[in-house]
Amino acid sequence: MLTVRGLVVRYRDATALDGVSLRADRGEKVALIGPNGAGKTTLVNTLSGILRPAAGEVRIEGRLAHVPEGRQVFGTLSVEDNLLLGGWRSHRRDVAPIYALFPALGPLRRRRAGTLSGGEQQMVAIGRALMADPELLAIDELSLGLAPLVVQELADHLARLSAERGMTLLLIEQNARLALDLCDRAYVLETGRITIEGPCRELRHDPAVRHAYLGGAVRA
């Protein structure tokens, strides 16, 4: 579904990604974790075609939709307009399934997206991405700035979407525990390079991962 090989991305002289390779199979949930400034956002922006790679290859079979870091809703537009704009490429105009998925958005459909809470905006951003009918959904910082309860709810939604529709998920997350619990496989990105990869249930017990990303906590 998604294959990235030897990807190099630079900002002027600064190399943000230095030979990154990763893959995600159909229906798979893949986590990408790593510290601030590692290059995670750079990677998804390259997948979306916002940035051009200096070297390497990106192959995506099917449509990619991208929920950007910081949500990036159209703040001055209504929730409904945000969703409709998500269908720009797919020409989809039927927003009802999104309200069915996120019932909380229904009563807010006429509200300006910029006036909503962080959690509601994240729902709008995910709903907007889903309007593109994607086979691959990339989410950059799902939990950033959101209350734990809201994050759990969103994570449940994503797990369901993946299970029911066979949608492939690329989840970028600061909260490594959440990412490792939700996903099948994970990559650790550090200063532009993949340093660790493997199934999530193995990485949960990996000493290096535990030390750096799980606060060293010992948990069975």
Partner: protein, 284 residues
């Protein structure tokens, strides 16, 4: 009293042309961040196009519509040059539009010469409103402006394309993510600006003869109107245009005609100063 009503009505009508020009500024700036100095040239060309088409025997209505469409085409060309398919920085685009307006002036002078042009507007007897006499063309100008601006507002709100333009203004990064082509939207905005400017020119030429170098004056007035809406709000541009139009007529009527031009500049300067001060306040 009837003089006051007279100034008021004429002021509203000229204010409408400023509002059309101002909305053109807004339409382009919202999407591209470029202040299009060629906006006044669109109006001049609209007037000249209409005059030429009419003098070649095209009927009223058709000639004016074609002139507006042609002005839209000029706007599109202007956008192509100024935006350079997204490879030109905003500041450079701004200077390019200034250059284009000078070229447009020269070309207009070459093709049509230096004599002011005009053509008959909407026929019929003068309307008498509260004791003031008004040519029907003034009313036409006001009605068309209201209809066009209302239609434009609806178009921005309710159509896919209009919504996409608004999205580019609201969040360009997110617009790219959902697949909107910012370069095309920029060109569309320029075409729209061209049509709005052209419409202003087409409607005002029967009332105030158009000259090849009238663009600067028009651009200043339109820009001042647009600044009232912070260059992003079309309603602000409408209000600004009306205030400016009425203000200028009052100054010209009760004080002296030559001061008319100064009003726009004073208002413009005041608004810019006020906005700069406000920005400083929010920053500190």
């Amino acid at each position: 009293m009837s003089a006051f009503i007279d100034y008021l009505l004429v002021g509203i009508a000229t204010g409408c042309t400023f509002a059309l020009l101002g909305t053109g500024f807004v339409a382009i700036h919202r999407v591209t961040r470029v202040v299009n100095f060629a906006q006044g040239a669109f109006a001049v060309l609209g007037g000249f196009f209409a005059e030429t088409l009419l003098s070649h025997g095209l009927p009223h209505g058709l000639a004016e519509v074609l002139a507006v469409v042609a002005a839209g085409g000029v706007g599109l060309l202007c956008g192509l040059v100024a935006l350079g398919w997204g490879r030109v920085p905003v500041m450079a685009s701004l200077v390019i539009t200034l250059g284009l307006s000078i070229i447009a002036e020269a070309v207009t002078l070459l093709i049509w010469g230096g004599t002011p042009i005009s053509y008959p507007g909407l026929g019929g007897r003068d309307l008498v409103i509260l004791g003031a006499q008004l040519q029907p063309q003034y009313l036409l100008l006001i009605v068309v402006t209201v209809v066009v601006l209302a239609g434009l507002a609806a178009w921005f709100r309710w159509t896919n394309l209009g919504r996409a333009l608004t999205a580019c203004a609201s969040n360009p990064y997110a617009a790219r993510l959902v697949g909107i082509d910012l370069n095309r939207m920029g060109l569309l905005a320029f075409a729209l600006g061209g049509m709005l400017g052209g419409l202003a020119g087409v409607l005002m030429t029967p009332l105030i003869p158009m000259t090849y170098d009238g663009d600067v004056q028009l651009a200043i007035n339109g820009f001042a109107a647009a600044i009232c809406g912070g260059l992003v709000n079309p309603v602000g541009a409408l209000v600004g245009g009306l205030v400016l139009g009425i203000g200028e007529q009052m100054v010209a009527g009760y004080w002296q005609a030559s001061a008319e031009t100064g009003v726009a500049l004073v208002v413009l300067l005041g608004l810019l100063l006020w906005q700069a001060l406000r920005e400083r306040e929010t920053m500190s």
